[in-house]
Amino acid sequence: MSLLKGKRVAVLGERDGIAGPVIGKCLEETGAEVVFTATECFV
């Protein structure tokens, strides 16, 4: 059974890692519903 299918996903990306929209794009075909996306930046 798919880990993400039917799940609501909150994406917490980081500027110096992998950004939120990039992760969200990757999840498009997983059956998950992305309900929150953020890209945090720590300086």
Partner: protein
């Protein structure tokens, strides 16, 4: 973790039910991944935000972990993440997040 993000995640867990929410991280290193994972599982370790002492116990993964990577089409993975998977300490990050997940 940003306080606004904490508040949103708390609200989402309440709205959809903890068992239906998954958090996926894009942290750049094991230390920051561990803190972010801990925040959504055990509570904000800095006691600064809405998730301080809020043991949500949410499922949390980093996008570089195999259970997530395996669900992403290979071409999409290479296009979107590819290089970052080589640059970041994927094993260290997976270990850190997995250790927090085991505490849920």
């Amino acid at each position: 973790m940003d306080l606004q993000s904490q508040d949103t995640i708390k609200r989402l867990a309440e709205q959809y039910g903890r068992e239906n929410v998954v958090v996926i991280l894009g942290s750049p290193d094991p230390e920051s991944a561990e803190i972010a994972a801990e925040t959504v599982v055990i509570g904000d370790p800095t006691y600064a935000g809405p998730l301080a002492e809020a043991q949500l116990g949410l499922a949390v993964y980093h996008v570089l972990e195999n259970p997530i990577k395996e669900q992403i089409p290979e071409e999409m993975w290479e296009d979107q993440i590819g290089v970052m998977a080589d640059v970041l300490d994927a094993d260290g990050i997976a270990s850190a997040v997995g250790a927090i997940r085991d505490q849920a």
